[in-house]
Symmetry: C2
Subunit: 313 residues, 2 copies
């Protein structure tokens, strides 16, 4: 694309991003029109993509290096849920014309940092300009052994619904930035810098189905159930919460429902026949369809189960 | 991503886009967090991505089905240049909140039409909202036999510089839309609906290096030269032009330089030891570096060689 017409900053962006390809042979030095990928024998490629938009998924004054790392991590979280190991990514960046070089520099530094952390390589991408806000897409490519990929659709009747970590901290981290509530300040990093749960890969060996919690725990659990042709029951009072989230939620169901429908948790929710190390049991899958939410063994009506985005991949 | 928070239109978009995955097993019904790709034995994956932005790469009142098809085609053009055959794609769409359902419907119809034309399948994607203009990214995945991929870097000293089709028609098609010049009207489709040159795959068997003409003929030829560690000479007066472009350019070099630096041609420019069927010979590669532009055998100073965007892939 001849998107850079008249915008000299593209040279700067190119100079800053090109080193991120390093010596990855797949990237062809970012000097070609395309990357050439040859998967190791017996390995499948797991491909997932997410877009984040300034003012929607991150804030105008979020540190640019953390924006870059969040962009990679929301995608890495999908790879972790599929038991794939990170390999490389393509990066589409659409920059406002007023973007400052210092922002781009810090953004590139964040990418480099998480490339090192997660063993990722930049395979290619595209840089364009926009009269609107910054739009960032990353397409992550992971490797998985034949038959080892965990899908949403593998849950079986009788499986336990299980979730890793604590739920709702991403929402409350955002709330901390908006409200300056000091009690929630410890959760800011949970909003800005999610931790993809690759550390749970071994535990997932016994799981039947898995997804990451990005749309909201109730929504993502219901996606597992519907993809598997089953019903799922979720016990609100068994959802694991951090100390600040527990205090924020207080007594009763309303706070719990807010946290369980918020999304941006980037924990893993899975179906497994037995308790998996590192997971909390919060419900079960049964023959049937739909999602049933309980609190102290009473069924609760939940109007919103978290919002689905258009589609995943 | 929980991008759809509060925006019901996402359900509509999901309903419109989901059928595009058809029965592609790789897409997992778009019900999973990721696509699972297993390349046929002996095949490499060629991956390329481009973003187009409303008001930058397409016009607000361009027909939505043609916007969709152009999005696919600017990427397909990269696959054609690499001698890869289309396999599937991921789609990132970032929608203004005021986007009308009829636009999305026509956009999806355009995708379906070109999926059928080029044998493409939708593997996954992400749908988000923005307060800014429509931003569309497609990541195309093609298949290529081992060692068959054409790179930019394969040109050899003595190779002929060759280009397919005619050059500058994309720019003049845009000019036709802006100026209502009836003489240029026949070129509007060249701007709106580029034709990826898969028809030249056999001719490319003898080529040493290839790229598509997206940044401008002179720029893309110079990319071939620099990636190959060579110098290139381009004879302006040998550049193939359509009738309307020839008339528009008139006599002298100025018009030719405009057309040769405009980009958006989506023709193929390549290096080959002999004349390739379907290509015009416009220069040659030699030992050295840099790009030399001539007109009637005189060297011409060209201030701009077309603008590079940040990077390709």
């Amino acid at each position: 694309m001849s998107a850079a017409r008249g915008w000299d900053e593209f040279d700067l962006i190119a100079r800053l991003l090109r080193p991120l390809a390093g010596d990855a042979p797949e990237a062809l030095g970012l000097l070609d029109d395309a990357a050439l990928l040859t998967a190791p024998p017996g390995q499948g490629l797991v491909v997932t993509t997410d877009t984040i938009v300034e003012g929607v998924h991150f804030l105008f004054d979020d540190p640019p290096d953390l924006v870059a790392r969040k962009l990679l991590r929301v995608n890495l979280s999908d790879l972790a849920a599929k038991r794939a190991r990170p390999w490389g990514y393509l990066l589409n960046t659409t920059w406002p014309s007023a973007m400052k070089p210092a922002f781009v520099q810090a953004f590139a530094r964040g990418l480099a940092q998480d490339q090192a952390t997660f063993g990722l390589k930049l395979f290619g991408g595209d840089t364009t300009s926009t009269p609107g806000p910054l739009v960032l897409s990353a397409t992550l490519i992971g490797l998985v052994g034949e038959g080892a990929m965990l899908r949403r659709s593998g849950a079986r009747a009788g499986d336990l619904l299980q979730v890793s970590g604590t739920i709702g901290d991403g929402l409350l981290g955002l709330e901390a930035l908006r409200s300056d509530d000091p009690k929630l300040a410890p959760l800011i990093d949970r909003y800005r810098l999610p931790q993809p749960r690759f550390d749970l890969a071994d535990a997932l060996a016994a799981a039947h189905a898995c997804a990451d919690v990005s749309d909201g725990l109730i929504a993502d659990a219901s996606h597992l159930a519907s993809a598997s042709g089953l019903a799922v029951t979720i016990a609100l009072d068994r959802i694991p919460l951090s100390g600040p989230a527990s205090e924020w939620a207080g007594d009763g169901v309303d706070g719990l429902i807010t946290l369980a429908t918020a999304g941006d948790d980037y924990q893993l929710v899975c179906a497994g026949p037995t308790a998996l190390p590192g997971f909390s049991i919060i419900g079960r899958f049964d023959v049937g369809e739909g999602v049933r939410v309980t609190y102290e063994d009473q069924v609760i009506q939940v109007a919103r189960t978290g919002y689905r985005h258009g589609k995943d991949g």
